[in-house]
């Protein structure tokens, strides 16, 4: 029973999806690990690919099955308002955990910029660090690494006011269209909601395309790579993880797009859609941080 007599508390019966998910996750990461190890060892062992593929299939099966169950239960009206609040808390704290994941990489960026690289250049109280590479000059973006033999620096960096600026506009606009879609859904205007969500998705995919083009440009014309020293490391890990999250958000929104067409949502009951919107706003906010701290400053 729910809190203030607002209905029945739904305790799901046994489910096979969690164990499928556990095995799927295990196979996925094991396969990835095997692939990486054989790549670094210079071997050509395809086993890892198969393991990863099996894991990926299981995860996909699980996602369809598990979310399918939840959608079905929700549409049957088994969930009370209390259950809805549990989902909201769950999604909110999940996004907070994602914020902290990005914080680790932002923290790494700030550390190398304001401590690590200047110390290597002989600044501050830790001048001994500066004796490691006497000819090294600290600068940011770091174009010439302390050990240029092992880490060849980039010849250039991305100008924030070209593609990244366009991407900023795309993503901010997509956040607005996403909210438009949400409002339309709340006003019971399904067609309008669907159309605004379509625009959102379009903007998201164009963003990813632009990002892909930018990476191509960085790798092939600027020598800016993951291996081009700490500038490339922080640049690609931050923007790359952001891109991965945009992809995930776009997949969520695509599912929601299909669910709008199928008429799954009502003006009052559409938390699945709302959760995907929250996530989309979150990746937008992370991008603002990236644009500011990775590209401009």
């Amino acid at each position: 029973m729910a809190n203030d007599g607002e209905g029945t508390y739904y305790v799901p019966a046994q489910s096979k999806w969690p164990i499928v998910a556990a095995i799927g996750l295990f196979l996925t990461v094991t396969g990835m690990g095997m692939m990486m190890n054989s790549m670094t060892a210079g071997e050509d062992d395809p086993t890892g690919h198969y393991v990863l593929f099996a894991g990926g299939l299981m995860m996909a099966w699980m996602l369809f099955g598990w979310f399918g169950n939840v959608i079905e239960e929700s549409r049957k009206g088994l969930y009370s308002d209390q259950m809805d609040r549990s989902f909201r808390w769950g999604m909110g704290w999940f996004i907070f955990s994602e914020v902290m994941f990005f914080s680790a990489f932002f923290g790494a960026l700030f550390f190398v910029r304001y401590f690590g690289v200047p110390w290597l250049g002989g600044e501050g109280e830790k001048a001994a660090t500066g004796m490691l590479w006497p000819g090294f000059t600290a600068e940011w973006p770091l174009m010439k690494n302390p050990d240029p033999e092992s880490f060849k620096g980039p010849t250039g960096t991305i100008d924030p006011w070209t593609l990244p600026f366009i991407n900023t506009l795309l993503l901010v606009t997509s956040s607005i269209t996403c909210t438009k879609s949400h409002h339309a859904l709340r006003d019971n205007n399904r067609d309008s909601s669907r159309n605004w969500l379509f625009v959102t998705l379009l903007l998201g995919f164009v963003f990813l395309g632009v990002q892909g083009y930018e990476y191509y440009h960085a790798y092939h014309e600027l020598g800016l790579t993951l291996a081009s020293g700490i500038y490339g490391s922080t640049f690609f890990m931050l923007t790359g993880f952001h891109g991965a999250h945009v992809t995930l958000g776009a997949i969520m929104l695509t599912v929601m797009f299909i669910r709008i067409i199928k008429g799954h949502f009502t003006p009052t009951n559409h938390f699945g859609f709302e959760a995907a919107c929250w996530y989309w706003h979150f990746v937008d906010v992370v991008w603002i941080g990236l644009f500011l701290f990775v590209y401009i400053l």
């Binding site: 029973m1 809190n3 203030d4 508390y9 305790v11 799901p12 019966a13 046994q14 489910s15 096979k16 999806w17 969690p18 164990i19 556990a22 996750l25 295990f26 990461v29 094991t30 690990g33 990486m36 190890n37 790549m39 670094t40 060892a41 209390q82 549990s86 989902f87 808390w89 769950g90 704290w93 999940f94 907070f96 955990s97 902290m100 994941f101 680790a104 990489f105 923290g107 790494a108 550390f111 190398v112 690590g116 290597l120 830790k126 001994a128 660090t129 490691l132 690494n145 302390p146 050990d147 092992s150 880490f151 993951l226 291996a227 020293g229 700490i230 490339g232 490391s233 690609f236 890990m237």
Partner: protein, 519 residues
Amino acid sequence: MSEHHHGPAKGLMRWVLTTNHKDIGSLYLWFSFAMFLLGGAMAMVIRAELFQPGLQIVQPEFFNQMTTMHGLIMVFGAVMPAFVGLANWMIPMMIGAPDMALPRMNNWSFWILPFAFALLVSTLFMEGGGPNFGWTFYAPLSTDYGPPSTTFFIFAVHMMGISSIMGAINVIATILNLRAPGMTLMKMPLFVWTWLVTAYLLIAVMPVLAGAVTMMLMDIHFGTSFFNAGGGGDPVLFQHVFWFFGHPEVYIMILPAFGIVSAIIPAFARKPLFGYTSMVYAVASIAFLSFIVWAHHMFTVGIPLVGEVFFMYATMLIAVPTGVKVFNWVATMFKGSLTFETPMLFAVAFVVLFTIGGFSGLMLSIAPADFQYHDTYFVVAHFHYVLVPGAIFAIFAGVYYWLPKWTGHMYDTALSKVHFWMSFIGMNLTFFPMHFVGLAGMPRRIPDYNMQFADFNMISSVGGFMFGVTQLLFLFIVIKCVRTGDKAEAKPWEGAHGLEWMVPSPAPYHTFSTPPEVK
């Protein structure tokens, strides 16, 4: 709805497919105990090698793998899952909820763990051996010089992190959303409060650990230079990211223990907790401080003077809320009608011995003194005093306190007291002499040592074996209690308070289908 009210399913699949908080709690607890024995077996290897100076039993390479795996398994496999198991069992019962908020995700959180640890332990059998760089896996030991199995270690950590984060989200959603009517936040039992704060810490720092191991993975396989100064990175960066996770992590392993002890001491002192509100604020303060003290693990690595001073004073500040807690427990016992049943024995030992660990922590917080203690057995003594008679004694106390509720039987009182005294003596014999060898300069994580440390090390080893063997007795006591024993009443402890004692023992499979009214 009726289909959800029948009892547990039969057979193995009950445990694999379950969405019941009690089943999942039991799974966590049994898994944790299995890991406790495995990590303990590794500790026995370490103590056997250190029984005498010189190299007798294992190669230094294997010794390194043992110290590393012992730490990882005990932290992530034994202590954390044990607390999650207790949370699963007790939080819904304590707040009058029917189950955890997200029961299927609860099952996933658990079942990730056996796979994660299978992956982690399998590294021991891989070419080049398992992780050998200490449980803190500092770069570049773990990146440039780590064995190839490091990759799988990294993914195992990722899996543990996913499990912890989902478990924590579940705990928070349960506490914030599923409390019975009238159960306001400031009426919640302290175990629930401490878990609410712990869950927050978990969600805040496990992703940072994921970030740290991801940077390692990229450095190892994809040529990034996060922790390589040649590319402009910095190995010290690793330590910052790691300890930003690592320090809150130590509170993750002690705050639920505070909650357990805060339930047990009032029950056996037959007095309400001396200051409930101050305990809640102390827990919150400790959690806040845990985020701004991480560099006290790095005093000797070379951080700017202002950093040394800031982190030194911030660390000392932790003594204030911790003092509030210790004085609260002592004041609760003061002039109480004390009896010393086994849960109380463990709880009182907790207060005394955890305080010893706290004081050695205070010594370590003094930066100039830490230069001397750093990486010696003094540090080993310190953190084992807060983890063994801290976290683990509190888990034992909690298990004995709630076993009658779980099984419907009383445990074997006499044997449980043997378990307590053997553990108490064994653990003090093991870890107390480590203070002395540490202050005299014996470095940690080395399989051999100078002759002058021989006597104390032999005592430590004898104590270690004693403590280790004693835990098999604990296993026996628990199994015996599950199968047989005197029938336990709904409230077997006269002075106990809380909703969990209002339901029969053993607690029904689904506890509260209608929420109890809390006055």
